[in-house]
């Protein structure tokens, strides 16, 4: 108890607002990431299908998705810029000491972001005037650089969990091995986990929009295809995601034992450690509250035997522990919702196999319509586990978060400003997307949708050769 008080007294005043601001801005930005990374890929699926089979509906979906992606990409680009400012504004101690190593993946990410920004622009603005296939191919670099960008940024985060590739002398980085910095111990599982998460979140969210529309009676082919493409992507990724997540958890067990103990709510080092669902830890390190315990499961999942010894968080002093309850509950939420989403993917596969008409299965559509939000919460929870679970360190075992935070005043003020700004930004984004959707619905309902198809001039001719009147959506 006393040590807890001492620990909090030694905490700089800026730490709480700085961490809150970082979590908040990252939490908002991460909603946009899946669209930047995966939405253009889905549009390209539709685009390819449209071009190959002359499917006008698929083309219309692709064009509209790319317009939505344009808006979200812009918001993602600027909120991402805020994060790079914040790395210096909030955590100068991290950058001063480790920028030489930690910065390298970001330099690489810069190149991918550049390529992404260039080809996103070509793809989005090229619908009307470019020839169809070159236009399609201009979209491919967006997908590739989205993957490369994700791997690079997550490499930097993984390095915070598994720092390596540098030599310290008198507390100063004197040598760096860039390859080891990038391909650090946590790189592969963390980056693949996030990449799959991006496709899953985007897929379920976009699919959910069309599932909701089908529940409201709009069950035409446009909505069916709009549902099937993204939802299939997400459902296919789901089992892989569970497998990657499983190996990630085992890596944490082996390399960040205190984080693992917090996740599994294991106070004392023990064999036959139970999997605990629910419950919380008090400051004295005891476990309370309503919970379900599955004996031996945590041990078994960590080392394929209930005899596997799991280190308890009680093995380190309270000042070296992360906030146990937050990490544990976030872990429960991630695993629980992740499993539910896997179940939804299985349900989808079953309906598909039995050739059921998905659009008639009301309960399935209901589940599908909330799957996007569930996937988003799962991703938030996952980031909470990895970020809060690394505390009190910003670079695991090397640099404490409190030693990295800025000395500048006014972080509470900037937190308040950011909160207001992002609330306005989120509201405006929502309103803009809603008005786009309504406009398209109006265009379709008026029955003139066909004239708004992309690759305009050559295709607006009907078979008879008379130009159909062009109705502009805007």
């Amino acid at each position: 108890m006393l040590s807890a008080i001492v620990a909090s007294a030694a905490e700089p005043a800026q730490l709480l607002p700085a961490r809150t601001q970082m979590a908040f801005t990252l939490g908002i930005h991460i909603v946009l990431v899946p669209f930047g990374v995966a939405f253009v890929a889905m549009a390209l699926f539709a685009n390819y299908r449209g071009l190959r089979k002359g499917d006008e509906i698929a083309l219309r979906l692709a064009e509209r998705w790319s317009r939505v992606a344009a808006v979200l990409f812009a918001v993602g680009a600027v909120t991402g810029t805020v994060l790079s400012f914040e790395l210096g504004l909030l955590w100068p101690g991290l950058m001063r000491r480790f920028g030489q190593a930690y910065g390298i993946p970001f330099v690489i990410e810069g190149v991918f972001f550049f390529l992404e920004a260039i080809f996103v622009a070509i793809y989005i603005y090229g619908w009307k005037r470019m020839r169809p296939w070159p236009h399609f191919w201009a979209g491919i670099p967006v997908v590739l650089s989205g993957i490369g960008g994700t791997l690079s940024v997550v490499a930097a985060n993984a390095w915070m969990n598994a720092p390596g590739g540098y030599t310290l002398r008198h507390g100063r980085v004197v040598a760096v091995d860039p390859v080891k910095v990038i391909f650090n111990g946590a790189f592969w599982h963390e980056s693949i986990h996030m990449l799959l998460a991006a496709y899953i979140v985007a897929g379920f969210l976009v699919g959910g929009v069309y599932a909701t529309a089908m529940l409201r009676g709009r069950r035409d082919r446009y909505h069916r295809l709009g549902f099937l493409i993204p939802f299939t992507v997400a459902a296919v990724a789901m089992p892989f995601q569970i497998a990657v997540g499983d190996s990630a958890a085992r890596w944490v067990f082996n390399n960040e034992p205190v984080k693992f103990a917090a996740m599994e709510l294991v106070p004392k080092t023990t064999r036959n450690a139970p999997e605990t669902i629910g419950g919380y830890a008090s400051t004295d390190g005891r476990v309370h509250g309503p919970k379900i315990t599955l004996p031996g499961v945590a041990s078994f999942l960590s080392g394929w035997s209930t005899a596997t010894k799991v280190k308890g968080f009680g093995s380190v002093p309270p000042a070296d522990r992360p906030p146990i309850t937050i990490v544990h509950l976030a872990w429960d939420v991630m695993v629980g919702l992740g499993t539910a989403l896997l179940g939804l993917a299985a349900w989808f596969a079953l309906l598909w196999r039995r050739r059921r008409d998905l659009t008639r299965s009301t309960w399935f559509l209901r589940a599908a319509s909330v799957a996007g939000f569930a996937a988003l919460v799962t991703m938030w929870a996952g980031w909470t586990v990895t970020e809060v679970g690394r505390q009190p360190y910003i670079v695991y075992g090397v640099l404490r978060t409190r030693d990295a935070v800025t000395h500048a005043d006014g972080v509470w003020f900037s937190l308040a400003a950011v909160f207001v700004l992002y609330t306005l930004l989120a509201t405006a984004t929502f309103l803009v997307l809603r008005s786009m959707a309504r406009r398209w619905r109006r265009v379709d309902a008026a029955g003139v949708g066909d004239t708004d198809v992309p690759y305009g001039p050559a295709r607006v001719l009907d078979p008879g050769g008379t130009p159909t009147p062009t109705v502009r959506a805007r």
Binding site: V71, V82, G88, R96, G99, F106, I118, D177, H407
Partner: protein, 331 residues
């Protein structure tokens, strides 16, 4: 090796100024275009010209940030811990500018377009002002090596105010010059003289401010002044001559060359700043080599920069060529 990293960094700053600067300046002309009816045509041109390119241009800022924090982490932390007020305002401005533009482009009603347009235009003026003030704070040596410099005086000072004001005017000048070329390419005969008049006015103002600025620097940042009038003088002269040449060809209706000359004038100023600072990254207390990351890191930065040069530059050229040929037009 640290010198190479320094060159890469200033190259990034120059490219950001030349490309993104024009995008900010376009926001200035949007802001001053007058009422809904009167400003409709210039605003439409600005909208069309900016749409496909502003995000790619914006990436140069990210590039500068990541190179700075990787190659010169001490300077990056010190700058962030001293100039946090203008930097935070600039960050807010960047969010508002990007979002305002993206939302305005897809909104339907006039009232929505006006709100987002106003957000875009106002933040397009605020952002370069504060980034210019940051540059002034760094260039006048007001950032201590360990950070924690005067949170107010580091940017509320003559050099910073000059930097901020000059940034706004120079952005407006660049934008007007580019927009003359845009108007001519899109065959909008009325907008060509419209932006030509503005380019000439902004160019003259920028020249006068730069000239007056020399006296401000002599008083406020004597080292910068001495080096700008000494070792960096050739670049300052190149900048002045390019600026004058740009105005001359613009008056004669040669739009394409005007664009390159205006860009050269701005790039030369940034280069002059870099040369005048050399060999210091901060004031006269932190040299590039003392603050530089280990050589292996700098080599990695240089390699990535070369990779970027062979991948991004052709891609950018492709983007600009498509744009100039009018193939990137969504409506």
């Amino acid at each position: 090796m640290s010198d190479i990293a320094g060159v890469i960094l200033f190259l990034g700053v120059a490219l950001y100024a030349v490309f993104a600067g024009a995008d900010f300046g376009a926001g200035f002309w949007d802001l001053t275009a007058g009422g809904v009816h009167r400003g409709r045509r210039p605003r439409a041109l600005i909208d069309a010209a900016l749409g496909p390119v502003w995000e790619a241009n914006h990436v140069w800022l990210i590039f500068c940030l990541v190179v700075l924090w990787t190659a010169f982490p001490g300077a990056f932390a010190a700058i962030m811990e001293t100039l946090y007020v203008p930097l935070a305002i600039a960050a807010v401005g960047i969010v508002a500018r990007g979002a305002g533009f993206a939302f305005g482009k897809v909104s339907e009603t006039l009232s929505q377009q006006r709100v987002y347009g106003a957000v875009f235009a106002v933040s397009s003026v605020i952002t370069p002002f504060f980034l210019g003030a940051v540059a002034g704070g760094i260039a006048s040596g007001r950032v201590p090596s360990q950070g924690g410099g005067d949170p107010l005086g580091s940017w509320v000072n003559p050099t910073s105010m000059l930097g901020g004001a000059l940034a706004v005017v120079v952005c407006a000048y660049l934008a007007a010059v580019y927009l003359v070329a845009e108007a001519s390419r899109r065959q909008l005969p009325d907008l060509e003289p419209y932006f030509r008049r503005r380019a000439i006015a902004a160019g003259i103002l920028a020249g006068v401010m730069a000239f007056a600025g020399i006296f401000v620097l002599q008083d406020d940042a004597s080292r910068l002044f001495h080096h700008l009038t000494g070792v960096a003088l050739p670049l300052v002269v190149v900048s002045g001559l390019s600026g004058l040449a740009a105005l001359t060809v613009l008056c004669r209706g040669v739009t394409r060359a005007g664009r390159y000359l205006a860009a050269a004038a701005v790039a030369a100023v940034v280069g002059g700043w870099g040369v005048a600072q050399y060999p210091f990254v901060l004031g006269t207390h932190l040299t590039l080599s003392a603050d530089a990351a280990p050589d292996s890191t700098l080599e990695a930065v240089a390699v990535v920069f070369l990779v970027a040069a062979v991948t991004c530059i052709p891609s950018l050229v492709y983007l600009y060529v498509l744009e100039q040929r009018g193939q990137l037009d969504s409506h």
